[in-house]
Each structure stands twice: as C-alpha cells, then as structure tokens.
C-alpha cells in the first residue's frame, strides 16, 4: 500500500455535475479525499450519494466538472481504467456472483492485475476476514449476509485500490456484524487505503470517519471533521432523528 504522503489530495472532485436522461442529480460537487483518509458521505435517500459513487467509478457520466486522482485527470474515464488507476467500488447490495465460489468472486477483483502479488493480497484479505478462510470453495450466494459483505469488500481490496468506496455497508446486516465490519474497515484504512463510506446508519459512519460530507438534493450542504458534522444541529435533526 502507498506510504508516501503528498501535499495534494489523493482524490479531488471539482464542480461535478452529473445525472441521467431525466436531468442532473448532482450539481457542482466539490469533494476531497486525502491519502489514508476515511470520508463519510451522508444524506437522505435520493440525495445523490450512490450516483456520486457511480461517477467516481465511471458508471455515470459527468456533464461538467473534473475528477483528479493522484494528480491525474480521470474525468469520465472508463470503469476498467478507473479500477486500474486505483478506484474500487463495493456496490450497494453486494452484487456478488452468487453461483460462483467465494474464491472466484475475490479473484475477480484482481481481474485487471498483471503483477505477481495477487496471492499475497488474497492472504491479506483473509487476514482481514478470517471467517472466509474455510468458505473459499462455497458458492457465494449460500453465505450469510454478513459474510457476503465481507466477500464484496474483499473483492474491492483485491484490486489493490488507492480509494475504496463502500455503498451501504450495514444494509440488512445484524448490529453485531456491522460493528465487526466497521472495525475491519478501520483496519483497512490504517493499512493506508483511503475510504469513502456511504451509510444510512449515519451515527456508525460519522463515528468511523475522519471527515464527512452531507449531500442534499445533489449538493454538498455541509462538510468538515466527522465529529463536528455529528454535532451539527441540522444533521442531528434531519439524519440522526435526535
């Protein structure tokens, strides 16, 4: 994993506007992710969080603005190019290949890699998720929801990303599993991978993150250190229900 720290942010999003046939969903988004930072993306359903992840992984086209990764312009690069350059996406609902083995699902994350260290990374993923060790030959679809999320995150890690984006880590998972997965996410982050966490359990996300962005109707309405965002009266009322 990268150890050098650089003055410029790892990921820099400027004035990003994007959407679908029906019209824009994102309007002039500015967002930074520094090396080894854990950033939470918070907002109501429909605010544009998943669309933003879609643009960052090349699945949705930007109509204006720019995305810079490690100093290089990657705006509207193709998904496979973005994976190769270091952006991995763990999609909402895991999207595993259910009838394929856990091992094959994990290896798919490394599909574009031609280096000789894929097996080392597989060992690293299994260090993060020891529960998967004796399930490598099982069909992914037969695993519990929590284990499937482990495979989905592991598949993302197998691309050896600079930025790992996780959409709805906690979706449909038991509280204890969510806490465990958050611990692993922090571990991955400590090892040097930057993370973007989209999460409906806002408290969980803000507790884990260094910084947070709040999206409303496709715009960033608040950003700052996660602790400050958590204590913001508007956030407490609109998202935490306190």
């Amino acid at each position: 994993m990268q150890k050098e720290s650089s003055p410029e942010p790892l990921l820099e999003v400027r004035g990003l506007t994007a959407g679908f046939d029906a019209g824009p969903v994102l309007f002039g988004i500015d967002l930074d992710v520094a090396h080894a930072e854990l950033v939470a993306l918070v907002g109501a359903n429909g605010a544009g969080k998943s669309t933003l992840l879609g643009v960052l992984s090349g699945l949705v086209r930007a109509s204006a603005g720019s995305i810079t990764l490690a100093g290089e312009d990657v705006t509207n690069a193709r998904p496979e190019v973005l994976v190769r350059k270091g952006i991995a996406h763990v999609p909402q609902g895991r999207r595993l290949f259910g009838t394929m083995s856990v091992e094959k699902n994990l290896l798919l994350g490394a599909y574009l890699r031609r280096d000789g260290e894929v097996r080392d990374d597989m060992a690293r993923v299994l260090d993060h998720f020891p529960a998967l060790k004796d399930k490598l030959s099982r069909e992914a679809g037969t695993l519990s929801g929590g284990e499937q999320q482990m495979v989905a995150i592991g598949r993302g890690l197998m691309a050896r990303p600079k930025v790992l984006m996780i959409d709805e880590l906690s979706l449909g998972l038991a509280p204890k599993i969510v806490d465990h997965l958050i611990d692993v996410v922090r571990e991955i982050n400590r090892d040097g991978t930057a993370l973007i966490l989209v999460e409906q359990d806002v408290l969980v996300a803000l507790d884990a993150a260094n910084r947070a962005y709040v999206l409303e109707n496709g715009r960033v309405v608040l950003s700052g250190p996660a602790a400050e965002v958590r204590d913001d009266p508007g956030v407490r009322k609109a998202y935490l229900g306190l």
């Binding site: 359903n45 519990s144 929801g145 929590g146 204890k176 806002v202």
Partner: protein, 233 residues
Amino acid sequence: MAAVDGVSFEVARGEIVGIIGPNGAGKTTLLNCISGMHRLDGGDIRWQGASIAGMPPHRVARLGIGRTFQIVRPFGSMTVLENAAVGALFGSADARRGPKEAFALADDVLGMVGLKSKANHPVSSLTIPDRKRLEVARAVATRPHLLLLDEVMAGLNNVEIDEALEMVRTVHATGVTVLLIEHVMRVIIGVCRRAIVLDGGHVLAQGEPDVVLRDERVIQAYLGERYAKRIKP
C-alpha cells in the same frame, strides 16, 4: 439442514411483533413458512384456529395473510397506483371484487402509506423509501388481517425510519396485526410490543423489547456489546 427448527410462538390479534436475530438465523425462512412459500418438514402453523401448513401462497393470501419481500420487485412498466391495484385484485377474499373496486382500494391504500401524490408516477421514478412504501402498499391492498413485513426499513436513515414507523402505525390502526423482521432497533423499540429473537433456527428469547434487548444472550449472539450500549430501550 433445517433453517428453522422447532420454533413455537403465537401472535395475538392486534399485536405488532418484531422478529430479530443474526443473518442466517431463519427469520425470512420463518415468514416463508407462514406465507406458504416454503414447505414445513414438521410442526404446524395455525391461523385463526385452523392449520395452514402446506397451503400454497395464493391460498394463504386469500385467507388474509399479506407479506412484503426483502428485494422489492414492482412491475416496472406500471404506475404506482396500478402496482397497488394488483394487490387488491389478487388479495384476500375481502379485497377481491372487480377492477374498479380494486383501483378505489389501491387509491385508499396509497393514502395510508403516503404515496397518494405519486399515484400516477412510473415506479422507476421512486426513491428507495418510496419503493419500500409501495411494497407495503401492495401487501396492504390485499386487505390482510396479518401483515408480514420483511425488512421494509433497511436502507433508511433514522428520520426516514420514523416516517416509515408512522406508516406502520397507520396501517396497524386500521385493525391489521403486524409481524415484522428488522435489524434496526429503532423500529423494534418504536412500534413492537413484543420481540422474538431467532438464533440458529431456534427461539433464543422472546418478550418485551426493553427486556429482550438487555438479555445477555441476545447481546452476545446478535447486538454486540458496542451496539447494545448505543441503544436506549
């Protein structure tokens, strides 16, 4: 291998009961058994005094047991109202009259779940919380006496959950008994009078939520220490 093994419980008329438990504990399988999607290998399920074990899903629905599914699958080419009307057309004996009545009932139900203003929208335009509302509307439009809800609040934030809880209270107030699966304790504490904890296909605990959620076995198997400290039953 049995996903649900020797489970016994009762739901009284007018209750809202929550089912919680680890992933893979058998919660959805249990709902599948009740709604006729999954055959029993043993035991019995009695509804208003008579056995419904082994009955196909459409007959269970006609007897007044409605359900939602974790993965919502609305008819994509139809409007919100048309989707809800499908429930009315193929639902319980109380619901099934003619198409005209079905649409009138569907319209009422959309009001109940807060989707009336979107009745003529295509379902593709709905946000996730609204899709969940429509999933509930389709089940409520079958005019069930018992409504089985499978994680209809997953993926919602706390404020969206509070709105969805209002919807459950509204449906419940029309005389519908509710049995729901959720991982969000805000829901269990917010509307359930009783919670049943499944673990490994067995009932680990059941009772009032504030007692069950403090049960050391439930914390060990399901909540985890950290989460248990965060919730305030």
